[in-house]
């Protein structure tokens, strides 16, 4: 581990040196040491503008400033990392400002002729800081990503304190918009990387192999050992993560690129761990690795994880790490608990962990801001912008905002106010749909509202007419049901027996955690009528199944009856998942459940066709949507042999039923059913989920099976409201884009405009150029176009 030692001596000095003129942090031993103004000149080695501190989530509070590396002259030069707000520099006058901008512009790495600057005093500036590099323990570096498009660096000091996180607004920064000619460095991808590259000139910066965003500054020997222990010999991850120079050279090894064997065999699933010849060796190497981590990192990890800020993420950490929180985890139990003994793709594991930590961090941040601003709604600030950024970059579409307001659902009073005394609605149906799209329904409104949203009941009728309709529907239902109920030759027919069996098996395992469907509490009681209820063709079989109850049996009856109503379809797996929530919302009303389910199936029966054509078509449309909205992700899927988007199959087949907790499913479905924007809004929800995980997918997942595993595991981790907000933004952006393309096409084809050109250019080349321009526009297929229609 070369390179670090030459700086060790400085580290010792600095603990007694104080050069901080404006450090907010009080930890530096001699921070109150008085130094005269003349002593406060520093050589400005590096400067970068438009580095912000974000004191709150509101962009209006963001503070722009300069990040700088300065040198304190002396026998042994000391290097400091500083952040100076623009407001402070402005006070100093234009000359001082000039120094910072010119150093930034020169992008020189020569230290000799550094400009001398003052580090302004910090009065009234709570965020400004300057700290000796040697007091910096570590940096947490997050490159710009889908969820936060400004890359950030947080600086942690050896004392345990954390400086305000710096956000690199590269889009505003001069040095970033024009790479200085003659610069010796290759252009960096973003400002933080640029800074990091420069820091490496003055300190040994080691990227941790335990946590990829963690960089240790002049690490101690113990830390080096800890953070270079290769947990997973998975250099590919490093390679993907650091296309440029983030990984210290000694850690970089070539990714094995010769997988010329069977093409099915290059998944990480079979190269996760290094492959010593025998298990015993593999195990030994692994255990050695773990024991090193335990010894070396336990104290550090404990310190970090026991910090109050870490609390929210602790429950989500992998068990091995989690066990450090209380320091009672022995390394042997790590191996057991961590599932290392089992086996899991390192990449899927990393991707999942990275996502969980990021999401929890984001939630914690929001909570914190929430408490700071006294509970003011910050949803508007947050919703959907992350998704938008990707589209903006790739498609140059203006910003759209989500209109959703899920915190104020349509409640009983609001619902009641939409109807006159005779029960006839006084608001138009589109208004009702829009409001339910925006707000969702309060729980006790659903039973009333769903038959309208689903179209079981017409909107513009009064209560009396509705009662008549219900009576008709009830009669009709009983009529269909009587085709099998009590008709033994039908009920016991071979094909119906098989159908009953299929339905029964599924209903016994659908939403059994819902109070209505919970298994009978006293299964041993032979007098329990439901134990002997004869829906399944052979009651003998129930021994291995969860016991039925009256509601699971009713669910079976509804589904069997549906098979008689929609004869071509029959029961298909997934239908019980669609029917059960309706049954719960309809409080077990069989007739209402049946007709709502039938109406839902009118929307969704294409999913259950024998030839699977409906599913294939929807996945193909989603594929086109990804291609248009996020070409990079599309290319990645292509590369991973994953264009079939099969990992979205379950999402589409049963409308995310398995991906959200039960109550969220209800909220999602009613939004989908409104057809407010699109009768296929579901595909935008799917796109939103993919988009909010695109970073993890792009970075870590390179095989179809990995993506499938990752997506299957998203179940119960997706946040509904933000996803819906993002889906709306995606829809609006998509619609805008289609409109722009159409307008552009019309302009190109318009005879008046092209006729005018004809006068100047000869006809042939004009036609060619029109064709050329038309070809450059993204192609919007009919299937894609259908997405922006509310009724299919």
């Amino acid at each position: 581990m070369g390179g670090g030692n030459s700086f060790q001596n400085i580290e010792e000095d600095v603990s007694t040196l104080s050069i901080d003129s404006m450090v907010e942090i009080k930890h530096t031993p001699n921070s109150d040491e008085q130094l005269s103004e003349e002593d406060m000149k520093y050589g400005l080695l590096y400067s970068k503008s438009k580095v912000y501190v974000h004191p709150t989530a509101y962009s209006r509070d963001n503070l722009p400033g300069f990040v700088a590396i300065v040198r304190k002259q002396g026998l042994k030069p000391t290097y400091l990392l500083a952040w100076i707000p623009e407001s402070l520099l402005e006070e100093k006058g234009s000359e001082e400002w000039e120094k910072f901008t010119s150093v930034e512009a020169s992008a020189s790495t020569e230290d000799g002729d550094a400009v001398l600057v003052e580090l302004p005093s910090r009065h009234g500036e709570p965020y400004a800081f300057s700290v000796p590099l040697s007091s910096v323990y570590s940096l947490i570096i997050h490159p710009p990503s889908f969820s936060s498009w400004y890359g950030s660096i947080s600086i942690h000091l050896s004392s345990g304190e954390t400086l305000p996180t710096l956000f690199f607004h590269d889009d505003e920064s001069r040095s970033f918009n024009s790479i200085a000619p003659g610069s010796s460095q290759p252009p960096s991808k973003w400002g933080g990387e640029d800074l990091l590259a420069r820091l490496r000139l003055y300190a040994n910066v080691l990227r941790s192999s335990l946590q990829n965003s963690l960089y240790l500054v002049d690490p101690s020997r113990a830390d080096i050992e800890t953070h270079t222990t290769v947990l997973f010999s998975d250099d590919a991850v490093d390679e993907i993560l650091s296309p440029s120079s983030n990984t210290p050279r000694h850690r970089r090894r070539g990714r094995p690129h010769s997988y010329s064997g069977s093409p099915n065999r290059n998944s990480v699933l079979h190269q996760t761990l290094s492959s010593p010849a025998s298990t015993s060796q593999a195990r030994l190497a692994l255990l050695q690795g773990f024991s090193q981590i335990t010894r070396g990192a336990r104290s550090t990890a404990q310190r970090i994880l026991s910090h109050p800020l870490a609390k929210p993420i602790v429950p989500y950490l992998p068990d091995p790490v989690n066990s450090l929180v209380n320091a009672n985890g022995e390394w042997s139990s790590w191996v057991e608990k961590g599932g290392v003994g089992e086996y899991e793709s390192a990449r899927v594991y990393l991707a999942r962990w990275a996502r969980i930590v990021a999401e929890e961090g984001e939630r914690a941040r929001r909570r914190e801001i929430h408490s700071q601003v006294g509970g003011i709604d910050d949803d508007e600030e947050d919703s959907g912008l992350g998704v938008f950024e990707v589209i903006r970059q790739s498609r140059n579409v203006p910003i759209s905002r989500s209109t959703r307001d899920p915190k104020h659902p349509v409640d009983r009073d609001m619902w009641a106010a939409w109807f006159a005394g005779d029960g006839r609605p006084i608001v138009p149906i589109d208004y009702m749909r829009q409001e339910i799209f925006r707000r969702g329904c309060a729980y006790d409104v659903r039973q009333k509202a769903w038959p309208f949203i689903l179209g079981v009941l017409p909107w513009d009728v009064d209560e009396r007419e509705r009662e008549i309709l219900w009576a008709q529907l009830k009669a009709r239902y009983n009529e269909i049901k009587s085709e099998w109920q009590g008709v033994d030759e039908v009920f016991n027919r071979q094909d119906i027996q098989e159908e009953r069996h299929r339905i029964d098996v599924d209903c016994r395992r659908t939403d059994r955690n819902q109070p209505m469907f919970m298994a009978p509490s006293d299964p041993s009681n032979p007098h329990n009528p439901h134990n002997t209820y004869n829906f399944s063709p052979s009651t003998e079989e129930i021994g291995a199944q969860s016991l039925a109850n009256e509601h699971t049996v009713k669910l079976c009856e509804i589904l069997l009856t549906y098979g008689f109503y929609e004869r071509d379809l029959g029961y298909v797996q997934g239908m019980s998942d669609l029917c059960a929530p309706i049954y719960v919302v309809m409080k077990g009303d069989e007739v209402m459940t049946f007709w709502c389910f039938a109406a839902l199936m009118d929307r969704m029966k294409q999913n259950f066709l024998r030839d699977q054509s409906g599913m294939k078509r929807q996945l193909a449309t989603l594929q086109q949507l990804v291609a248009v909205m996020d070409p990079e992700l599309y290319k990645h899927f292509e590369k991973c042999d994953s264009l079939n988007l099969f990992f979205c199959f379950r999402w589409v087949l049963i409308a995310f039923k398995r991906e959200f907790p039960f109550d969220d499913v209800l909220g999602l479905w009613e939004v989908l059913w409104t057809n407010h924007y699109s009768s296929q809004f579901l595909l935008f929800v799917a796109l939103a989920v993919l988009e909010s995980h695109r970073d993890s997918i792009l970075r870590y997942l390179v095989e179809f099976d990995e993506i499938l595993k990752y997506c299957n595991h998203l179940s119960m981790t997706i946040e509904l409201d933000s996803t819906l907000a993002q889906a709306e933004v995606l829809f609006l952006s998509f619609r805008q884009m289609v409109q722009d393309i159409d307008r552009r096409q019309a302009e190109l084809l318009d005879p008046t405009t092209s006729g005018m050109r004809k006068r100047n250019v000869d006809g042939g080349s004009t036609a060619d150029s029109v064709v050329g321009s038309l070809k450059k526009l993204p192609f919007i297929s009919d299937d894609l176009r259908a997405l922006i229609k509310a009724d299919s």
Partner: protein
Amino acid sequence: MGRVLLKVIILGDSGVGKTSLMNQYVNKRFSSQYKATIGADFLTKEVMVDDRLVTMQLWDTAGQERFQSLGVAFYRGADCCVLVYDVNSSKSFETLDSWRDEFLIQANPQNAENFPFVVLGNKIDVEEHKRQVTQKRAMAWCQAKGSIPYFETSAKEAINVEQAFQTIAKNALLQETDIDVSPDYPDPIRIDSPSPSGGCSSC
């Protein structure tokens, strides 16, 4: 020898216990709360087979035949196919034929006649009098289909599960080795990386 991934496909009627068997084998857990599998999922497990460390990737798919046209993507490259039925349901046993045929058509393995299948008769924990398929009947079928190994299992009570999957792994490995006979099949790990067993940080 490089690391080996064995791809195993588990097929059978809905509700015979495919998901349960897989979870019992990999996670040593049983739950009566498993839902019907929608789409597909897989679990992986490392096992020692004849002194070789192999990784089994066990694919679990939806049991309704309607979804089988989607199976193609998963069946491809399979090293072993596990056919599961419920000993308390003759229907689930009678469909084994079509599951086997369908698999051979969809996966189209190189050596269809010798492709390794294993049959599992599950749910033997259920009271004996409910049983609908005798061991004799099942074994006769397996014999007729080219001596397919047969196990009677209980995912719930963890009976025979380990043994069954050990055989599955073994037969899958044989299949895998049969395919990759090419002598210059490169070891994907060792080619570029120096001694992976070094243990300490590589400076």
